[in-house]
């Protein structure tokens, strides 16, 4: 569920319990509050006049366990930085990340290391995310051994079992990554994360670098794992069709801020923000007969180091009004569960 700025999380589940006493309250697995990540530009020692790249500029959302949140956007929108900041792979500039009531920002490095098996990440590039001089068995198993996920004598069987779950035959155990194709390497990455028995996996464009038929295999695998093991996903991608297939909720980002956040049905059935509309229409449809009316955006994506004033999208928006150039719209809920940040809709 998304969050309004300056408002508490709506406990919709409480209503559910009132009407149906059998249902238990579902506690969100991850709560992100006003997360900001700024990268300093230049290496001047002076504190003032420092230019910042505002990669993530105030993002808030929650996820329930077992669900998938899709994060969509183009380059420079900050979705990759968001994923890595949540995991504390980048230092957080401000904001809170509550995993299971533990604030990931304020705990010590040691505690964070102990917590890491629970929140994992899968990377985009299958060719650089595996160390070239280690065998597959070592890659998948070293963290297992370190965190003591299973006792020592079950170690090898556990790894082979994890490999099977991800569709890797056992004889891959002692081979090296350079012998494998992109799709198989991505499976190895998934096995590496899966072996640690995580609750949350952040998938950072896991299928963008793969061919179409392999994409389908990997997506099926991810869905299967979620169904059987109850893993929560944050699925980051720029490919709308994949995100639509796998996500329960979708969050659209542009230059570090959320422009629209709703359930998948609402995003596609009732698209509200002009950027989301343009994004949807830009996806090429594999049907030569479809005469889609294309919304072609003018200009290029502005640099995140120098974002436009007011609404960050106004320089490319076909419906830009005067107020868009000066006042930044806030994220407001227009129908239950559907949040938009745009001046086209009443902002009070």
């Amino acid at each position: 569920m998304p969050k309004d700025n300056n408002q508490e999380v709506k406990k919709v589940n409480v209503e559910a319990t009132k009407s149906n006493p059998q249902k238990t309250i579902v506690k969100p697995l991850l709560v992100v509050e006003d997360l900001k990540k700024y990268f300093p530009l230049g290496s001047s020692f002076l504190a003032k006049n420092r230019q910042y790249v505002k990669a993530v500029d105030g993002v808030s959302f929650t996820i329930d366990p077992g669900k998938t949140l899709g994060v969509v956007g183009e380059s420079g929108c900050g979705k990759t930085t968001l994923g890595r900041t949540i995991l504390r792979l980048h230092s957080i500039t401000s904001g809170k990340v509550m995993y299971d009531d533990i604030d990931l920002v304020s705990i010590s490095k040691k505690e964070m290391t102990k917590l890491r098996p629970k929140i994992q990440i899968i990377f985009q590039d299958p060719y650089s995310s595996l160390s070239p001089r280690m065998t597959i068995g070592e890659i998948i198993g070293e963290a297992v051994r370190q965190h003591g996920i299973v006792p020592k004598d079950e170690y090898k069987d556990y790894i082979i079992e994890t490999m099977r779950l991800c569709g890797l035959p056992a004889y891959y155990f002692s081979r090296y990554p350079h012998e494998f194709s992109g799709g198989q390497r991505q499976r190895i990455s998934i096995a590496r994360s899966l072996a640690l028995k995580p609750d949350l996996i952040i998938c950072d464009e896991p299928v963008s670098a793969l061919d179409v038929s392999i994409q389908a295999q990997i997506i099926n695998l991810l869905v299967e794992l979620q169904k059987n093991m109850g893993i929560t996903y944050i699925f980051i991608s720029h490919d709308l069709s994949v995100v639509e297939y796998i996500s329960d909720e979708i969050m659209v980002m542009y230059l570090g801020t959320v422009v629209e956040h709703a359930s998948t049905k609402q995003i596609f059935g009732n698209t509200m923000h002009p950027y989301t509309k343009a994004l949807l229409s830009a996806v090429p449809v594999p049907d030569p007969d479809s005469k889609k009316q294309r919304i072609i955006l003018t200009g290029d994506i502005p640099s995140p180091a120098n974002p436009p004033k007011g609404c960050k999208f106004h320089t490319r928006c076909s419906e830009c009004m005067e107020i868009c150039k000066t006042v930044e719209p806030k994220l407001k809920e227009y129908e239950p569960g559907h949040f938009v940040a745009c001046h086209l809709y009443p902002q009070d």
């Binding site: 194709s181 179409v212 069709s241 639509e244 830009a282 594999p286 294309r294």
Partner: protein
Amino acid sequence: MKNIVDKIKIKRKKRKEEAKHFISKEQIKKTAKENSRIIKQLERQNNRKNVPEEEYITTMRDPNNVVEFDNLHSYFFTDAGVVKAVDGVSFDIPKRSIVGVVGESGCGKSVTSLSLMKLLQSPTGQIFDGEIRYNAKDGKAYNISKVPKADMNRIRGKEMSMIFQEPMTSLNPVFKIGDQLDEVLFLHFPEMGKEEAKQKSISMLKTVNIAMPESIYSRYPHELSGGMRQRVMIAMALLCDPNLIIADEPTTALDVTIQAQILDLLRNIKHDIDGSIMLITHDLGVIAEMADFVVVMYAGRIIEKGTVREIFKNPIHPYTVGLQKSIPALSGTKDKLYTIPGTVPNPINLPNYCYFRDRCNKRFDKCDGAYPELTQVSPTHYVACYLADEMKAEIKAKFKEVDKNAKR
């Protein structure tokens, strides 16, 4: 002590097992010897200078085609074996049309385009056999596979040009955009003056919808975004009015909205210039929007080719069918995605039967034979699959029935 001996025994066994997976030294030596013999022969052919034109002038089968690939075989001779990257590919690129070459990574589509431009990585990459006939602007038809390297420079850039996938690395970072554009002009039109070249470059930048072309002319590549760099690449490709533009995955590295802009641009350009575009991509959506004809490649061979409507509305080869079904279409169903099980085979030492059959869900007894030939299903639609034969046989039988009934 016994522990150590045991450990050594286990290591030896492991090594023996792994040795079965790795190629033996003698094998490598043999392959290397064979390879260097063949390579020497082909390189000698390729590196001749002052070859008379008659050796590589030929005639086109159909004067309406810009390029005709005729049974092209491009191989890479590596120590691990011969990689048959392109193994018997034949198709045509007609004038003023967009031909899309689809396939997954490793299927040989890039190698096909590189063979056309004779940019294969020698000495390991060679055009082994086959003809590539190119219909030049002056009316002559060149057989590219016989043109020696020294003479290719006249054709490249002037008659056919290429747009690459990575706009970030295709431009030289130490030269201004304007200098790089002018360089192309000076190379092919040595009599052109500086001012004239500058004017032509700026007007070309305008054609590709770059705002403020004069200021972009004097900028460096790192100051531009990916979309703008790709436009500059397209401008460079168009400068000499080529007959053929080869676009090798031009939008894969770009964002979706920028991709829409570039595709729009390419479509408009096709109307303006008098040439064809060979569009190589793995994105079926792009193909459906842009192409007139489609060629589907798999592991070095063409498995289906036809017009874009035939391929999308009536795909016959199970691979083509599977490809289209495995795309999660927008607002489609939430069922499990259809997947083609397995992966693309290793390109070294491919067998001579239909190597898709292990992954095919429509396999039947005929598939155990040799590799299926390209069967004609319609004047433009060809398939390399025994299913096509079955279909034709069915249609023939149906017609026979209808005939019989009509006669009665």
